[in-house]
Amino acid sequence: MAVYLYDGSFEGWLCVLSEITQRNLEPVDITTEQNFNGDLFAQPIIIDTEVAVARRQWTQLVSDLNAEVRKQVHRVFLSELPGVEIKLCQFVSLLRRKGTGHWKDFSRPEVVWFHEVLKKMHREEHRMHAFTRFHLGADGLLAACIAPDFNVLPLIGDFFARRFADQQWLIFDERRQYGIFYNLANVSYISFPQRITSDHFTVSNLSADEQSFQHLWHTYFKNVNIQARKNMKLHIRHVPRRYWRYLSEKLPDSM
């Protein structure tokens, strides 16, 4: 009755997967040391993260599955949903046993679960493409603050690098306290020693015209509304309240 503990990173999970495949033994649960609740019967076994092991397992996955499925496995891992580590291992074992074609076999509950999480991830990524609002700083840097439900930062960098290729930008995840930064050549991860909140982006260090453009956006948003068709329930379904603090047009009229 083993519970495997790992460090929470994707490389760590790959090492756990490698351990499971080698020993051909499925643990009861896979979790991080912080989340482990001390089960009476379970033996906690700590799996160390070794980069070489992780890399080997990653290459092994592309030959066992294929490049597309492997990419989606990584995506599902980033959802950070409870139980995702063990369910993903079960999914990968299923595909290794039955063949990669079964990843669309919706008669199996593991496959249905996998695609449900994938759909959630896609939706959150798409929302982040939509709701990331940049503020132009006095130093010419465009900075944005977001708080996605899932860890989508590693997945949205490419989109913004292609679109805003001619300006430096920074997107910061307030919940997870790290960000991505584009320096006109490539995208890299960035973090700060102190705790950063969205106020750092919206209040301090803004360029001269920034407030005016936000006001113009506010004006536009107000005037695009058709009162005769008002439907707040539909509106909130599309723009849930938890995103409102990052969207300048939803903040109360400050001007």
């Binding site: 079964h102 669309k104 076999d105 919706f106 008669s107 509950p109 249905v112 798409h126 493409h129 939509a130 709701f131 990331t132 609002r133 940049f134 503020h135 132009l136 465009l142 944005a144 292609r162 679109r163 805003f164 290729a165 001619d166 300006q167 015209d209 005016s212 453009f213 006001h215 113009l216 956006w217 004006t219 536009y220 948003f221 107000k222 005037n223 695009v224 509304n225 058709i226 009162q227 005769a228 068709r229 008002k230 439907n231 707040m232 539909l234 509106h235 379904r237 599309h238 723009v239 969207l247 047009e249």
Partner: protein
Amino acid sequence: MNFDRVSEKLSILADAAKYDVSCASSGSKRKNEGGLGNAEGMGICHTYTEDGRCVSLLKILLTNHCIFDCAYCVSRRSNDVKRAAFTVDEVVGLTMNFYRRNYIEGLFLSSGIFKNPDYTMERLVQVVKRLRTEERFHGYIHLKAIPGASPELLKEAALYADRMSVNIEMPTEQSLKLLAPDKNQEDVLNPMRYLKTAIEENRAMQKVEKKKSLFIPAGQSTQMVIGATPETDWQILKLSEGFYKNMKLRRVYYSGYIPVSENNLLPAPGTPVPLVRENRLYQADWLLRFYGFKADELLTPDAPHLDMQVDPKLQWALAHFDQFPVDINKADLETIMRIPGIGLKSAYKIVAARKHAKLTEDHLKRFNIAFNRARHFLALPAAESRLKSPTPNQVRDWIVHTSSSKYKPNFSPQLKLF
């Protein structure tokens, strides 16, 4: 930029432009080539209005001055509203600055017709040319084609825009003549025809010359006003089908009439917007484009109205009840798509899953289909308390009473005391 003046102009000209409901920013293939922005693949809705509509583009009129007097339009010549006009600099400045901050996917530019159609179209072309060539903007641009504009201007615009559209507004020539006597349908259809031919010519030329040049990559669209005039749903659907088949349009939009004027030819101000009818028309439009239906299958001149209580696919299935029940494990994809309660994605999932296992009721319940609706049309082992061989009307009553439609309050016979 004089922010106060631009702010005032923006309130007037965004307000006037909002009745053009086209909001798509998808379907283009524009890559970023050393400038700002791109327009590839899926569109993005950066926010939503309080009535639930998507805001993905900066949708404005260049000016709301207009020489015409169409009774259904808020900017008609005889209406006493504040008039304003943007300069080319202001439009370019707004677009670039909003885009940089990721507020929008691009620009949607329309205009009232001032002086004459060509003069107006020329100014519109100036804006998009500046954006593409001087500012190196590669985001999405949706440009209106002004009815009556000359082909050279249309062709030049198409080199810079991702989509162009011209609104048919009234579904029939008679309605148009009644409400806008200065206009005729040919002025609207001519730009559409010209652009359709130009797109085909450009495509043929690209095959020969092997040169990639974008020419309205997201195609054309149009818009019809619903509920202002007495056309039937059948007439409207036949018109849409014609647009898709013959004019090769990508989208037809249906805009429920919002009464903006006191005119005894039109519904009075205060008349509720026909939202349910608009929704049913969009559902029927989807059936035409994605589900392989023809307009004549859904409606006929004798039964020209869409059912308001049930969606068009269910309406069709009840009228053709002899084609059901369907065996989910044997039927082909086209038949499965016609089962009420099963959408496109679920139909593909079913066809993919049945390669691995024979599908049972339990499997189907996991597929995210409207199972309570679809069960009446599927060949499943007989369930406990269901009637054997019900009539279509019994099935319809069953579904209407057990489902919770978002429009139910409109149809409830209960007294509303509060």
